[in-house]
Amino acid sequence: MFTDFLYVLREKGLNVSLTEWITFMDALDKGLAYSSLEGLYNLGRMILVKTESDYDKFDMAFMEYFKNVHIDMEMPPEIIMKFLDKGEMDTSKLNADIYSYIQKRDMAETKRMYRERVTEQNQEHNGGNYWIGTSGGSAFGHSGRNPGGLRIGGHPGQQSAFQVMGERKYQDFRHDKTLDIRQFQMAFRRLRQFSAKLDVAKTELDLDKTIDSTCNNGGYLKLEFDKPRKNSVKLLLLFDCGGTMMPFSELCNDLFQAVHKANHFKDVKTYYFHNCIYSKVYKDAECEMGNWVDLDYLFRHTDKDYKVIIVGDAQMAPEELFDVNGNYRGPNDGRSGYEWNKLLRDKYKKAIWLNPRFHGKLNDLAWMESERTLAEIYDMYPLTIDGLKAGITKLMAPR
């Protein structure tokens, strides 16, 4: 049953496993959907979806698969209900005006039209295009050819699942939407590398092993030590504070907060740049002349194990990137922004670029030369949860 629905779900990006699908079928067999669309919706969601960030995808898939729109409205007069309950299924052709209202989900207008017709109508209508009835092209009634029509009668029970989904109230939780601080923090938790795996001295008392060894030792105390479990990840953050980044200042602030609240890093260094990285980076987001450090200095004072995250929209003009005099704030120490970026990339083992305006494969357009070039130097990801997760995976990859 509903096997196609499984494929619609997977198409929408929901990774429903066979186990879960079989559980769902099992639940349907047990009658847990209570023979209603709403019950089916709830049941499907609780079994097949395992995070609120996927609720929206499920809503979309459900809407697509169960297209027949069922909306609970006031009951029409008895007489209309009676004949509506018999009737056969038929397929599509629309009653354009009302359909478009339903498409726009303009419920007030749809309901008004519906009420108008209920008052006008005082007899049975089957097969027509205007009145409420069965098998017609009208937007009201059931078993009609109007796929966007409202079901009136025909099925028992109240069926308002469409309205629940139509609200799409879970779309804020989507992973591919730009994210908030808590979700940032969550993502940064993945940026861990325990020193237990590294080559350090065994300095911490391992209680369990000590007990085991002591027991094996016939009750005479024998101490056992292990490597301390501490995060060894060091982070270098570089934020673009140029004018085009203004719309994303809150987002960057959230990211900044998330990194600084995640106190599990061994070290975090944060610097800022204006449009493009040149020979100097600024100490704070104001990017005032003079309040900077040389990139060379930074190179000397950080080792290659620092993981670099650059946040910027890569929207600088090509001359800002390629021209030796591209930096309007003065000397570049004889190198273009492009060269400085190359130097930065070569210095560190791992570096990613997070871009709030990421164009991805669309960056072949002429005015995206800068983004395209930088995406060749760095691994570039969109500044979203999924982007950050992918970026962090890259940072943590062994090679």
């Binding site: 990774n15 496993s17 186990t19 879960e20 559980t23 099992d26 639940a27 047990k30 847990l32 019950g39 709830n42 049941l43 609780m46 079994i47 979806v49 395992k50 995070t51 609120e52 609720y55 109230k169 601080i181 969550m186 938790r189 007990i211 085991d212 002591t214 027991c215 009750g219």
Partner: protein, 272 residues
């Protein structure tokens, strides 16, 4: 037995979706995983179910150091070692030194019980995977005594998570999932009334309006939750605050908002 349905309890207001999730988890004999903002009553749910079904509740609180083994049983080797050195009686009986954890206790119970595994995301990333077999089969094996502890009736397992860590897929696949969304005003009204027998209508209205107004301010980092609203209402009632000044003076704001920056933001926005 199947006639028994969860409908919330006197102290706990459950949404229809949540009630359905409890019933489905029970019928399918799968753990129910509850996720949601802090303060949306995840932990209280288990208590409510325990009351509604009149079954004993076993709570296993998870901490960052908790291991799966702790929930099953602990072999108290130190005690045994100690006893042996002083020639205590019964040292040769390992059983005396096997202590069941919460999961073990729940399995051993004669009647059906509710088992709450609270804040599973606090533990190590691998923790949930270590419990897959035990939760599937509802049994485990004690190596030291060669004994299998098997549940006579499957406990109803409720698991809560604050989403601090991602849970492993293999674990998720076995669960029924429900996300407790933050209650809308009407639902909140109902929840508040469960906690207060007779509350001044005007005070309630003013406080609720202010509460949702604060939640709607985007810059507020730690949004106040249900439990904070209830504390606040308590404070307002006890303090005998005039409802008319709630929105303008924001009395006892500290009960509602815990962060200095947030207090500042709210104070800046308040109307005089």
């Amino acid at each position: 037995m199947n006639e028994m349905k969860f409908t919330g309890s006197k102290e706990y207001v459950a949404s229809p979706e949540l009630m359905a999730a409890v019933d489905v988890a029970r019928a399918l004999e799968k753990p129910l995983l509850i996720k949601g903002e802090p303060g949306t009553g995840k932990t209280m749910l288990a208590e409510a179910i325990s009351q509604a079904f009149n079954m004993p509740l076993y709570i296993w609180n998870i901490k960052s150091t908790t291991k799966a083994q702790d929930g099953l049983y602990v072999y108290d080797t130190i005690q045994r070692l100690y006893d042996s050195q002083f020639g205590e009686e019964g040292v040769d009986d390992i059983k005396r030194y096997i202590k069941l954890g919460k999961l073990g206790e729940a399995f051993k119970s004669e009647e059906q019980v509710i088992l709450l595994i609270d804040e599973i995301d606090k533990a190590d990333l691998e923790f949930p995977n270590d419990l897959l077999w035990e939760l599937d089969k509802m049994e485990f094996y004690i190596h030291e005594t060669r004994e299998t502890i098997k549940a006579k009736t499957r406990p109803i397992v409720i698991i809560t998570s604050n989403a601090e860590k991602e849970l492993p897929d293999a674990f998720l696949r076995r669960c029924i999932f429900h996300y407790i969304a933050f209650p809308e005003k009407e639902e909140m009204d109902e929840i508040v009334r469960v906690h207060f027998d007779n509350i001044d209508e005007n005070l309630l209205k003013q406080a609720m309006d202010t509460f949702y107004w604060i939640r709607s301010i985007k810059e507020v980092r730690k949004k106040p939750s249900t439990s904070e609203l209830i504390d606040w209402l308590n404070a307002l009632t006890i303090g005998g605050i005039d409802p008319e000044i709630i929105r303008t003076k924001l009395p006892y704001l500290g009960v509602l908002i815990k962060k200095d920056e947030d207090v500042e933001i709210v104070n800046k926005r308040k109307i005089y």
